[in-house]
Every structure is written in structure tokens, then in C-alpha cells.
């Protein structure tokens, strides 16, 4: 920068940060359509703020994706984990942490540092073991500040 030139205004960066913070408080997507728990319902929407993690599930005779809430309720979608990841790409709370998990960063209450990371969530006694694998670890640690 030459002498006499004005410093560029930093306002856009600050506004961007404010916007990001607001996005974090008020995410653009708040609910997600899942298979209704009662057959008289057409559609059921799970509140993403209640979801601890999203994982693949195939132990009930079919491939599905399961949303686990802090109230220990499981909800199911036929979308694959990658498709759900795409839909939640702009959601500031959710991130992919392994081949099998999308986690809600705001619901993590504990983690164990080992080669991977085991994650504990609000309301759930059992952790997800190896919830964060090496591929996603750097990004996870960056976002989980």
C-alpha cells in the first residue's frame, strides 16, 4: 500500500461475520421431513435443533437413514446420508464427521480424544464410537470451537 492511500473499509467482513453468527442462532433450515411415527400422518417434521446425529441404518430389513434426537426418539428418511448432507450443507450446526455420521455440533456434550473421536450427546447415554474419523477430523476441530 502506498503512502497517502486510505485503508480499505473492513465493514463487509464484519457484516459477513455478523450474518454468519445470526445464521448460527437462526439456521435457514429448521425442520426435516421424515417417515411419520403414526400411520395416520402424511408427513412428519423433525426439529433439527433436537437432532443429535444422523446415521445410516440397515438392521430393520431396509436401507434407511436415522435421525436420533436428544429425547432418544428415532426418525427415518429414505434419503441417503450424502443427500441429507447436501440438503444441510448450509446448516451451521450440522457437519459430516465420518462415512456413517452427520452430527449436530450444538448437541455434543463430551468427546474422547483417541485415534478418532467418540462423541457424547445431550440426552443420550451411549456415545457414538469413532464418530469423527481422520478424514473429517481437521474440519471438525476447526468448526467445533
Amino acid at each position: 500500500m502506498k503512502r497517502g492511500e486510505n485503508m480499505p473499509k473492513r465493514e463487509p467482513d464484519t457484516l459477513q461475520k455478523i450474518l454468519e453468527r445470526l445464521m448460527h442462532i437462526d439456521p435457514p433450515i429448521k425442520k426435516f421431513p421424515v417417515a411419520p411415527p403414526d400411520p395416520d400422518m402424511g408427513l412428519y417434521f423433525v426439529d433439527l435443533k433436537d437432532v443429535c446425529y444422523i446415521t445410516t441404518k440397515a438392521d430393520q430389513g431396509r436401507e434407511e437413514t436415522m435421525f436420533m434426537t436428544s429425547a432418544k426418539e428415532a426418525f427415518y428418511s429414505n434419503l441417503g446420508l450424502s443427500e441429507i448432507e447436501k440438503k444441510l450443507i448450509e446448516h451451521p450446526h450440522f457437519m459430516r464427521t465420518s462415512k456413517y455420521f452427520l452430527v449436530n455440533l450444538t448437541k455434543i456434550r463430551a468427546l474422547k480424544v483417541s485415534s478418532a473421536r467418540d462423541l457424547w450427546f445431550d440426552g443420550l447415554e451411549k456415545p457414538i464410537v469413532n464418530g469423527v474419523t481422520s478424514t473429517y477430523l481437521a474440519d471438525f476441530e476447526k468448526r467445533f470451537k
Binding site: 450474518l19 445470526l22 442462532i25 411419520p36 402424511g42 408427513l43 412428519y44
Partner: protein
């Protein structure tokens, strides 16, 4: 950037804003579940179900709080963040049934359940597009993408109640089975719950046919899973079980028996969801069929009960299989017969020697038998019709023939003589053409160019049995040469 931020902050601030009621009460927007119209007033309904009469029309709040309240009906704005469930909408007043709606298509009327109220908010077609866009869904009736199994059942109007629990259920765990059955047995739902799942569109009535379908489906599923016994009676035993369970609540009554049987038939014979035999129903025709020991793949089939003994003894003589259909073949009988047959023929194709009445009904019985056997996975490679008109000499025929239809003809105009219907006449004429024996058509002339025409058939039990025996054994010998 500043503009984006401002919009964002404004949206974020919307629930914090207040609305003043006609009585001067201050209501926080975040406490309002929905807005509606009562009389001439706009009304805000809060989460404790308190109502506030508002000053402005709904359109004002729709615009002022765009993004927070969403118009879903001419008279309703819903707090978008509170939407929890989308239900089917069942208008109280009778409405024409929408075909597209049944297919999950354009007609997207539904009801919304919102957090903070028991009241369901109606959504009309006019506003459903905006709602779908806001919710990010392509239909309001079912999840997309839908699992193929779910889709198949939905299209059939079947609910697989609590299938996840069912999948995990251990039939040996009697306590778990009882708990599951107590919770999910359709027959014990009671009227209110039954209405919730099986309500007829546009009426506050149970859709009995859909209910019957679901009872049948559940019964089959439970039998297959091994958590209920097979029926030790016939189809009527099933009906009595259903009627006894639902009659008290006046959900089904004696007049529904035909509907119940027809639903069962439709599920088995048209939709091929399962078989009669899966329910353990007794085969009333079991004395009328059997599988041969030496040549099980050769089947001698007769229509008339009077020919059953002849068929049995002839089949026994040849080591062949036999079946007497006693009219149109019952699917249940064919299931039992073909299961026994399959065990004996080990995948081989079969040859069918068939002796039905020589008339359109006989042709129909023959075709039903062939298609019925093939539907059970047995390939019919060759069909030999045992009865021919040449077996009946001119002096024998008058005693063997029976009227099929009678019609009046003037010029080219044909009028059926009651009780015949035009369809029967058409069918009979087509059959007569295929037979090609002029003796089976007689005509009487009347003045004015009018003719009364009678088409005749031949009863199979009037046939000379020795001719039939000879033809069967010759055909059998030919079959042996082929094989």
C-alpha cells in the same frame, strides 16, 4: 451485504414483535400459533389457546409478518416454525372425490398440526404450493423419496402398523407378542381409532372396504410371522371372527359379509398379495382332486360333479392326476391341488385333458382352470379337449343339448330374448362360430321376416364315457411318445 443483514435481522426479530388486540392487550408474535377469522374479526390464537380479536384484516398480518406467518387457507395464517405434522384433510361436508389426490398428485389439501394447539389447521389447494415450497417437499401426502414397499402398500390403501416393532418381534416372546397385539390389532382399535386410520374422504364415516383390506393384510402378516394361528375353518370362520370383534362397536355388520369376501378375493386373485391357503382355509373340494403316482404331470379335469368318479378312476388307471372343478374352479382348490402337484412333478410341464360342457361357460371354466394352474407356477404345455360334437350323433344330440341363448333377428338387427342379454348373445355367437357345428343353431321363421334363433350347447355328463376313456388313453399314449 447491509441489506441482506438487515433483512436477516428483521426476520430474526419478527417473533419478538407484538400485536395489539381490539381490547388493548399486547400479544407477542412468538406466542401466536395461528391467525384466523371469526365472524368479521381477525383472531390470533396463542399457545394457551387464548384468543385475541385483532384490529387489522388477515392480509395485513400476512404481509407484515411475511416469513413468520404463512397463508395456508383463505381464513388461516399458520406460524411456519410451529408446523409439526401434515395430515390428510377430511372435510366434514361431502366433496367430490379427487382422483389426482388419491394418486398424491396436484390436489394437495391437507391439515397441519402446529406446536401449541390441538386444533388442526386446514390447507387448501390454492395455498398448498407456497406451503410445499416453504417446507421443501414435493407432496404433502407422503414422504419423498418413499421406500418401494411403503409406496406399494400406500397405493393399495394398506397400513403396515408399527412394522419396525413387528420386524424385531420374536414370536417366542409371548409377553412382547401380547404387548404388540394389544397395541396394534386393528380389530381392537375401537370406533374412534378406526375412524382415525380408515376415514372415508369427504364423510365422517369409516371406509369399510379399506378397513377390511387392512384386517386381512394384518391377519396374513401375523400368520406368516407365527404370532397367530391358521384358521381351522373356512373363509366364513374369518368373517365371523371379524364380525364378532367389530359388530359390538357397529363398525361392521352382517350386511358387510359380501364386501368382506370380495375384498379378500380382490387381494388374492387380482392383487396377488397372498393365497387363500396361507390362511389355512379348509378346501371343501379336497375329495375332488388328487395327484397321480406314475404320471402326475398328466391331468384329467372335469367340470361336473357327476363325472368326478369317472375322472378319478380313469386317472387312477393311468397313474395320472385328476380334478373335478364343480363349476368355475375355486382358487383355493387350485392352490391346494397345484401345491400337491408341484411336489410330484418337480418343475415339469403338465398336459391337461379337459372335459367341460360344450358352451361358452364351459370354455370359461376351461380357461379359468388353465390360467389358475399357471398362476400357481405350473406351466400347462398342452391342452386336450376331450369332448367333441362329433361324439353326439344326430339321434343322440337332441337329448344332450341344452339351450345357451335365444334371440330374435330381423334383417341384421338382433334382439336378445329374455333372460338373455346382448353380451351373452354376442359371446354365444362367437362360440358357435368356433365350434362350427350347424346342429347347435336352430331357427324358427315368423311372419314379417322375423326369426327366432336358438344357440345350443351340450352337457358334458351326457357324453358317451367309453369314447371319452378311449380318447383320454390315446392322448395319454401320444403324450408318452412326446415325452
Amino acid at each position: 451485504m447491509t441489506e441482506d443483514l438487515y433483512k436477516r435481522v428483521e426476520k430474526y426479530y419478527l417473533p419478538e414483535r407484538t400485536i395489539i388486540s381490539q381490547d388493548g392487550e399486547v400479544v407477542r408474535v412468538k406466542d401466536i400459533v395461528f391467525l384466523t377469522i371469526e365472524g368479521k374479526d381477525s383472531v390470533a390464537v396463542s399457545c394457551n389457546n387464548q384468543k385475541y380479536k385483532l384490529v387489522q384484516p388477515l392480509s395485513f398480518y400476512e404481509k407484515e409478518f411475511a416469513g413468520y406467518f404463512l397463508r395456508v387457507h383463505r381464513s388461516f395464517l399458520a406460524a411456519f416454525d410451529r408446523i409439526r405434522v401434515v395430515y390428510e384433510r377430511y372435510p366434514e361436508e361431502e366433496e367430490p372425490e379427487s382422483v389426482s389426490r388419491n394418486k398424491g398428485g396436484a390436489a394437495d389439501e391437507c391439515e397441519l398440526a402446529l406446536r401449541g394447539t390441538e386444533t388442526r389447521i386446514p390447507v387448501t389447494n390454492t395455498y398448498s404450493g407456497v406451503l410445499k415450497k416453504a417446507l421443501g417437499v414435493s407432496t404433502l401426502h407422503h414422504l419423498v423419496p418413499e421406500h418401494p414397499d411403503d409406496k406399494k402398500l400406500r397405493k393399495l390403501g394398506i397400513i403396515d402398523f408399527a412394522w419396525r416393532e413387528f420386524f424385531k418381534l420374536d414370536p417366542k416372546d409371548t409377553a412382547a407378542v401380547k404387548a404388540y397385539a394389544d397395541a396394534w390389532r386393528v380389530l381392537t382399535f375401537g370406533k374412534e381409532r378406526t375412524l382415525r386410520y380408515f376415514r372415508r374422504l369427504g364423510e365422517n364415516q369409516i371406509d369399510k372396504r379399506r378397513l377390511a383390506k387392512n384386517i386381512i393384510w394384518q391377519t396374513w402378516r401375523w400368520i406368516k410371522k407365527g404370532i397367530r394361528k391358521l384358521f381351522d375353518g373356512n373363509i366364513r370362520s374369518f368373517w365371523y371372527e371379524v364380525k364378532n370383534a367389530l359388530g359390538g362397536d357397529e363398525i361392521l355388520d352382517s350386511d358387510d359379509v359380501g364386501m368382506f369376501y370380495d375384498t379378500l378375493r380382490e387381494m388374492i386373485e387380482d392383487e396377488r398379495l397372498f393365497r387363500y391357503k396361507d390362511f389355512g382355509f379348509m378346501d371343501m373340494n379336497s375329495p375332488f382332486h388328487g395327484v397321480g403316482k406314475q404320471r402326475p404331470e398328466i391331468i384329467l379335469a372335469v367340470e361336473k360333479a357327476g363325472l368326478a368318479n369317472m375322472a378319478r378312476s380313469l386317472a387312477l388307471e393311468a397313474g395320472a392326476s385328476h380334478i373335478c372343478t364343480r363349476g368355475e374352479p375355486a382358487v383355493l382348490t387350485i392352490e391346494y391341488f397345484t401345491d400337491n402337484l408341484k411336489a410330484a412333478i418337480a418343475g415339469r410341464e403338465v398336459t391337461l385333458f379337459v372335459m367341460t360342457d360344450m358352451n361358452p361357460a364351459g370354455v370359461s371354466i376351461r380357461n379359468s382352470l388353465i390360467s389358475g394352474i399357471e398362476a400357481q407356477g405350473v406351466k400347462v404345455a398342452r391342452v386336450v379337449v376331450l369332448l367333441e360334437t362329433k361324439d353326439f350323433s344326430d339321434d343322440v344330440l337332441p337329448g344332450s343339448k341344452a339351450k345357451v341363448v335365444r334371440y330374435e333377428q330381423k334383417g341384421s338387427v338382433i334382439t336378445p330374448v329374455p333372460p338373455a342379454k346382448m353380451g351373452q348373445v354376442t359371446k354365444a355367437l362367437k362360440w358357435f362360430e368356433s365350434i362350427g357345428d350347424p346342429r347347435l343353431k336352430t331357427e324358427a321363421e315368423y311372419p314379417g321376416g322375423k326369426r327366432i334363433v336358438t344357440i345350443w350347447g351340450i352337457d358334458s355328463d351326457t357324453a358317451d364315457r367309453e369314447i371319452i376313456r378311449k380318447r383320454f388313453l390315446e392322448g395319454l399314449a401320444q403324450s408318452l411318445c412326446f415325452s
